[in-house]
Symmetry: C2
Subunit: 228 residues, 2 copies
């Protein structure tokens, strides 16, 4: 469902060029649960932005559901991002002037869902992540872990077939972290959602089909579930 | 060095009132390493903001180095915050238009240190957290874990006697996380810095003198090192 071929990403810093990705190739099958692990600064978030169509690589190509995203126009890419992919960003990216409920409902509005239905859907998912009692709080009125759970709920609003999660459990306590991993696993096993998650959390290893280890912009090794 | 007496904090949400802290009392001795643990939304960051003088409680009192911070004027409080306390916020709070070096040097400018000396000090600490090669990157040009390390370096710029850390290892991989815990422990053991850290990281238990468990705005229990 997602294929990356020799993806290179460079950032220009004055005269210097930082090669964050040095040529990454990876095939991810539909319905897999993949964890991407590696040291801080090794390129996980940059790779996440490439396969999610948020940023374009300098060279190499990315296929999502067999279409080359470099060939897609803006509106086709927006449709794909809105209906097929749910994003959980490392820095949440919540809209600070909207409540938790409005932040989670927003994607349903872009997808054309009637407002009443969208509100019910948003309430359901916020309940599922344990925030039924904080629907009308804005991000500044929520704790770090609560904001992260709003970001997780928002990514699920349009029942995506692929969830791209960047450090989904970073600010969560042991119990809440376990619940979120359980939720992602349930979506994966019962609804066949493909989960691709950049993480430092060793508990993710237990639920992953494969673990991709990156270091300094390259894939170090890929481990299957049996040998973890 | 830090004393809290019956601290209550309430937030108004329309007609509702959320009691984030329901009356917390705690004494922290100079040179201690204290971890505050508890579920997401239990009041750790709110308590952190109270003892750091960032926000005022509705009732109760806080003493830092034996002065009641409610009695301090704005400029005395600013002096205390600038010279004695280093803050590591859960959401980093870096200045997005400044480089890593400028962000770390900024506290030294407020403290009146000559610019040249401040630059050297900032470079030294960034080196110590493994970012000697990213001095001129702005926060948007750094990974999540790198931004967190800039925030940690900034908190140490003025050689504070107290470091208040809110989730210092949340976005760090196992190795970098261990290095940061090692750095905090070194400051604590060798330079006598008092460390107060809100965390979900079980490795913090190994280096803490005491662990304060909070739940729903109250202290559940306090454990000494021997019984952890
Ligand atoms: N400005 C605010 N207005 C209303 N409620 C708030 C506000 N700030 C915090 N809260 C509420 O107070 C409670 C405590 O929040 P706090 O940020 O202290 O939690 P925390 O223990 O740090 O959690 P985490 O581990 O997720 O960072 C939460 O339930 C939160 O929803
Ligand atoms: N806009 C940019 N300009 C310059 N360098 C950048 C930019 N964005 C990222 N980098 C660099 O690219 C490298 C990879 O960053 P990336 O955010 O992908 O790391 P990461 O693996 O997600 O790390 P973490 O675990 O800390 O989140 C880092 O060394 C970072 O400094
Ligand atoms: Mg990252
Ligand atoms: Mg917090």
């Amino acid at each position: 469902v997602v294929r990356a071929r020799d993806v290179v990403k460079e950032f220009k810093m004055g005269n210097e060029v930082v090669r964050a990705l040095k040529g990454i190739s990876l095939d991810i099958r539909r319905g897999e649960y993949i964890s991407i692990m590696g040291p801080s600064g090794s390129g996980k978030s940059t790779f996440f932005n490439m396969i999610g169509g948020i940023d374009r690589p300098n060279s190499g190509s990315i296929f999502i559901a067999d279409s080359d995203i470099a060939q897609l126009g803006e509106s086709e890419m927006a449709f794909l991002r809105c209906h097929n992919i749910g994003y959980i960003f490392q820095s949440y990216n919540l809209l600070t002037t909207m409540t938790a409920l409005e932040n989670v409902q927003l994607p349903t509005i872009f997808a054309g869902m009637p407002a009443e239905e969208g509100t019910i859907r948003a309430m359901e998912i916020l309940e599922r992540v344990g925030l039924g009692h904080r629907l009308h709080n804005k991000p500044s009125q929520l704790s770090g872990g609560q904001q992260q759970r709003v970001a997780i709920a928002r990514s699920l609003a349009n029942r995506p077939s692929i969830v791209l999660a960047d450090e989904p459990t970073a600010n969560l306590d042991a119990k809440t972290g376990k619940e979120i991993i359980g939720l992602l696993r349930e979506l994966n096993k019962e609804e066949g959602v493909t989960i691709i998650s950049a993480t430092h959390d060793p508990r993710m290893l237990d639920v992953s089909d494969r673990v991709v280890w990156v270091n300094d912009g390259m894939i170090d090794r890929v481990e299957n579930r049996e040998n973890i």
